[in-house]
Amino acid sequence: MRAVMIALVAVLLSACSNPREEVTEQLAHQVLLPAHQQWHDSNAALLVATQGYCADELDGPALKQGFYRVLQSWSYLQPLMVGPMAEGNRSWQVQFWPDKRNMVARQVEALLDASSPLSQEALEGASVVVQGLSAFEYVLFDEAVDLDTRSDRYCPLLTGIARHQQALSKAVLELWEGPQGMAAMLVDFPNQRYASADEALSLILRTQITAVDVLKKKLGTPMGRLNKGVPQPWQAEAWRSQHSIGNLQASLAGARAVWEQVRSLVGDAQLVSRIDSGYENTAQKLAGLPAPLVELVQNKENLPRLQSLYDSLDNLENLQQVELAKDLGIQLGFNANDGD
């Protein structure tokens, strides 16, 4: 035992490896990269399913399963979108939310009126609103669209979106891989992106905490928190597919996966257990919701339950944004929701 200890000490002292570097490396290879891979796999599967559906080889429910799987992997990915997905307008091409003015319906129908049958080229030149999951969901779930009888009109769009998403996730994945890829930037410091592991860790945490803030928005907006308490069911994310709560759960799981890796760096053991139970409480409250969010917000009796969930998310955000950041001694900087 003693010999092992001495050897370990020697190794540690000589290499002086930085525990923050170890954590960013673990995050890259065990959490971030796999989440991007999973998202890409689900897009590839959706493309196959869409082509099958449009060739009359697959039924509607099977196509919907493929769509739910993409929603799931995309929601999981959101707290983990450092690097390529956060750049350009890549993430906007995946989903357009909130869509208060029902731009999805208008832009989809206008595009199909103007260019039918739709070419991939026309779709690539169009707005992000019609290139992503929100438009796919509109076609697949909206009552105004009779997909079975109008597949000639809508199938080129569905296939086009699935192809666009598959190409997008493939391109992003390629930016993660390889010696100059994003994953490598989280292993050796300094590099062309980050001067230190601290800087990288700060960015990862900022992304994750911003995503938790977005979860508050995704819950609070349909609850009517921005609207004097008047519920706004049609402003729920994924209200057409009634998948809002599933999305929230997947995003929370993604955020938690980051925390699981960061935990070892925290000095204050009490803070660790408070954040642990913050995740646990929030997950339990989400799991206990009995109906889709678009329905829940329309019944006043559900309000205390939703409010309690909102408070849990708020607590979790603050624990990380204020106390975790302080414990780790990092500045989280501005995020896109500041001032909102």
């Binding site: 035992m1 002086c16 989280l332 900087g333 500041d338």
Partner: protein, 426 residues
């Protein structure tokens, strides 16, 4: 055995800390001179006073122009009122950097500058008008209606006064029900912009305000009353805000100056960064561009968006440099954040100044484009690659600048930037 391993683990980690800590503990010297920093915060109050005072005086000039329009509604008086509105926006847009971080401003702002709006709440709109889903007030048309029923509530609209109009904001819980402020006045002066992403702004005729045989639009007495009431309310609101920044009074400025100096600096930086990134780069440019959505354009009726964005940017620069050029040409200047940052880290100060200059040049690009006939709503058109590049350049410059603001904050030892949560204990 297990215990020993655990203890060994603890020992190892403490050894690691002892052996590997190459980070020096923070220098014990203060990140800035406390007295100097206090002057910086005080001068920030002075800047706010100057810019809100200018916003008020320009709003009064707008009121005179509107009085002239109503006295004699013709294309010349309408054009003059529109010019006065544009001029009133120059100082107002420079106040917005004070909005984020100072709760007194943020809570007041909705009645003054809320946007985007479902304008069908206020007046007649085109058949193709697209409102927010589920907004019960989307086609309320206050000008055409003496009363309004929303849910079980029946509202008497017969007397159009500021108080009534303010109470109609967020009617039925919808944030796009905006009955007051600059954008309500803008809609009354220009009307809907029906050109989408093509050239041209709103084309409301002056005869919408006429009362004789030439009158158009309908319900013109009420439209006139509405315009007058909403303008008077804007002035009262700006008077309130000017009073909040007067020195030597019991007001918000006194609170700010009495607070810990670090909180004052934090508010200044938070206002700069929030406007720069989330609001201007995000809400006001990226959303409209990515969705090719003229409804998400900031000054969508007047097509004055380029100047709104430019003067938003100018406001950020003003706060960092402690400078403001008043409407009358005078310059207000004094102790600044830049002084504090430069005293400790000249490179960080120089970098942020360069970034502020670069973002101003990028936003100037939007102004130049408008001067050459291509306005913001044309730049966001589908397929306009050049327009997208111009706007993306401005977004990118603002993102860079926000990074510089974060670094400046670190120089001043401000890690938590959000004043709402910075001191909060959980």
């Amino acid at each position: 055995m297990l215990t020993r391993v655990a203890a060994g683990g603890l020992l190892l980690s403490s050894l690691w800390i002892a052996g590997c800590s190459d980070e020096q503990p923070a220098a014990p010297t203060a990140p800035y001179d406390e007295a100097q920093a206090r002057q910086v915060v005080s001068h920030y109050g002075e800047l706010a006073l100057a810019v809100y005072s200018d916003a008020l005086s320009e709003a009064r000039a707008l009121q005179s122009a509107i009085d002239a329009l109503l006295a004699q509604p013709d294309e010349a008086t309408l054009a003059a009122a529109r010019d006065a509105w544009r001029a009133a926006r120059v100082p107002y847009m420079q106040t917005e950097v004070f909005r984020f971080g100072n709760r007194v401003v943020d809570e007041w702002e909705g009645q003054v500058n809320a946007w985007p709006l479902d304008e069908g709440l206020i007046d007649y709109v085109d058949d193709d008008y697209q409102a927010v889903m589920g907004n019960p007030g989307a086609r309320a048309n206050i000008i055409a209606s003496e009363s309004l029923t929303i849910g079980e509530q029946r509202l008497d609209l017969s007397d159009l006064n500021g108080e009534l109009l303010a109470s109609l904001n967020e009617l039925g819980g919808s944030e796009v029900n905006v009955a007051t402020g600059y954008h309500a006045i803008e809609f009354l002066l220009w009307g809907q912009d029906l050109n989408g992403t093509e050239a041209g702004a709103g084309q409301r005729p002056a005869t919408d305000f006429a009362t004789g045989a030439e009158a158009t639009g309908g319900h013109n007495a009420r439209r006139r009353a509405y315009l007058q009431a909403v303008t008077n309310l804007l002035i009262a609101d700006l008077e309130f805000m000017v009073a909040q920044w007067q020195p030597g009074a019991e007001n918000y400025r006194a609170e700010l100056e009495a607070d810990a100096v670090k909180n004052g600096l934090r508010k200044m930086l938070f206002g700069m960064g929030s406007l720069s990134l989330g609001e201007l780069a995000g809400e006001r440019m990226k959303v409209a561009l990515a969705a090719h959505s003229p409804e998400d354009e900031h000054d969508c009726f007047s097509d004055n968006t380029h100047f709104s964005h430019f003067y938003n940017g100018k406001g950020i620069r003003n706060v960092y440099l402690g400078e403001y050029q008043r409407v009358n040409g005078d310059t207000v200047s004094g102790p600044s954040l830049s002084d504090l940052v430069a005293a400790r880290d000249t490179a960080a100060d120089r970098a942020l100044k360069q970034e502020l200059t670069a973002s101003e040049a990028a936003l100037q690009g939007l102004v130049d484009s408008a001067a050459n006939g291509t306005h913001f709503d044309q730049l966001i058109a589908p397929g306009n690659a050049e327009g997208a590049a111009l706007i993306n350049g401005a977004i990118e410059a603002l993102v860079q600048q926000t990074g510089g603001i974060e670094k400046a904050a670190l120089v001043l030892d401000i890690q938590a930037l959000n004043p709402d949560t910075a001191d909060h204990q959980f």
